[in-house]
Symmetry: C2
Subunit: 295 residues, 2 copies
């Protein structure tokens, strides 16, 4: 097997592109794609400060390291969700990673804010844990990003294609109108970027392996049955017959902008904290209030 770029011995065979590469050419290919994605969508300039949301999984740790390698000034933000037998292990991986690569890290603990972890908070909010988790993470990220130009998340091509498929299957117009690799800053909401939106998890696994990234491999015990897993299964099935369908499906969606005119919800500042929300009080403040009333 020969590298299709330089002709040396290839160690890597990317099924998604049917592309054989040696380690060096893969690393160049990988970082080039992310660099071009950042440029194409005007995600960031080289003097920007980027807050990287890091869970401890392969995607976010790889993104954190790569943005650093590309020359951006980055800080990692890890949110400890207080999930028993899970969150402490995730945090440990993140801390070790930040030490190993000398990357600046901030840790926010949900229990420090609410006195409770996600599982209990979800019960109090009468919501599924994934929803409360997403809401808290968005809120905390925005709070922590005040001195930064943008927030980067490790959403991959697989994530974006899956969530696009889910939004299409239910024709969720609002989400379809908003699904884009960059969300511009809007009052209390910091600019958000997804530099891995054209990068598949298959590639990230290789990158993490080549960089010796010791990432956290466990699935969140509260996310069991999340529909996103089904959509990923669907794409695995489709990719076997139609290689690179994931990438073309997502790319063409972005290019054709079918849903851009679909009505979005109007957001107003929360009366308590000023965070943009659909109601008069945001879900974060509502949850805080509920927890306070319990005590």
């Amino acid at each position: 097997m020969r590298c299709q770029r330089c002709g040396k011995v290839a160690q890597i065979n990317l099924r998604i592109y049917n592309l054989k590469l040696c380690n060096d050419c893969f690393l160049e290919f990988f970082s080039r794609r992310v660099r071009l994605t950042i440029e194409r969508f005007k995600m960031a300039n080289l003097n920007d400060k980027i807050l990287v949301a890091v869970s401890g999984g392969k995607d976010s740790l790889s993104l954190w390291l790569l943005l650093h390698e590309l020359g951006y000034s980055v800080r990692g933000l890890h949110i400890n969700l207080g999930i028993e037998n899970f969150s402490e292990k995730a945090q440990e991986k993140v801390e070790k990673f930040s030490q190993k690569f000398s990357l600046e890290l901030k840790i926010v603990n949900v229990k420090d804010i609410f006195g409770k972890g996600i599982e209990e908070l979800a019960r109090i909010a009468h919501r599924v844990p994934c929803r409360v988790c997403g809401m808290l993470k968005r809120y905390i990220m925005n709070q922590e990003a005040k001195e930064f130009n943008c927030i980067a998340t490790g959403h991959t091509l697989d994530d974006e294609a899956s969530s696009l498929l889910g939004n299409i299957l239910y024709w969720r117009e609002g989400y379809l109108a908003r699904q884009f690799p960059v969300l511009e800053e809007e009052e209390s909401l910091k600019k958000k970027i997804k530099p891995f939106c054209f990068t598949s998890e298959e590639e990230i696994v290789v990158y993490a392996h080549l960089k010796n990234i010791d990432f956290f491999k466990e699935r969140c015990p509260l996310s069991k049955g999340a529909t996103s897993f089904v959509y990923k299964e669907v794409f695995n099935l489709l990719e076997k017959r139609m290689p690179a369908i994931k990438l073309s499906f997502y790319k063409e969606f972005l290019r054709k902008k079918f849903f851009k005119d679909k009505k979005e919800v109007n957001l107003n500042p929360c009366k308590i904290c000023g965070y943009l929300t659909v109601d008069s009080i945001c879900n974060f403040c509502k949850l805080k209030e509920k927890v306070k009333n319990l005590n």
Copy 2:
């Protein structure tokens, strides 16, 4: 297990709706849905003459019988495609069915027109067989439908949802703009209707069983690897986790009409036969010409 309509013993459990029914209530449920679909989309009036395209499979034979039961004046049209070890058996099933239920049938044989079957014609046309087959069937149906008000095909909810998914995955705007259960008459193109568009194959299997329909079960040997099978597999996977997603996906698509303004191709009458086509000469006449030049 009790019938959720009448309380008698239920023989049928429709997974797609999680609905338990006795045989009588199922038959009423089944025919009512098709009747309402015909009315909702103004597919046909009771005094209309309908040409039903029948392959010999469960969908088309069931449709033929049901339209007859609903009071429409129907004739079956079977096109023998000249596929060795396949087409003769399909034709036999159709003929036996038409005799058993005393339904009028016309058979057109592709070999009578071209002197060759689909497989050879596909080679001559340098096209995959499914494409030539579809083109020929559309052409012959239109030719045979001159005295009829419309052509009915047995496309099911599974077919429509699958083809919608395929068109979405590749963002085929023209097809998305045209995908509708009724295509109105346009010069040489007869009105086309799909009365089973909201009826799942699961239901049709039950109907065919209750009506003792002896249908043709073999898959066309030339359609191996057709992507439509992959999309159906995808929906089987999705339905397990999200019951009735197939129906809601397709229904919402029809209701929201996102793609209705997308440009369609312009059609002109074929210079030889007058059939509407994108070129100056239609594919049917081109193929006829090619076959003539071979001899």
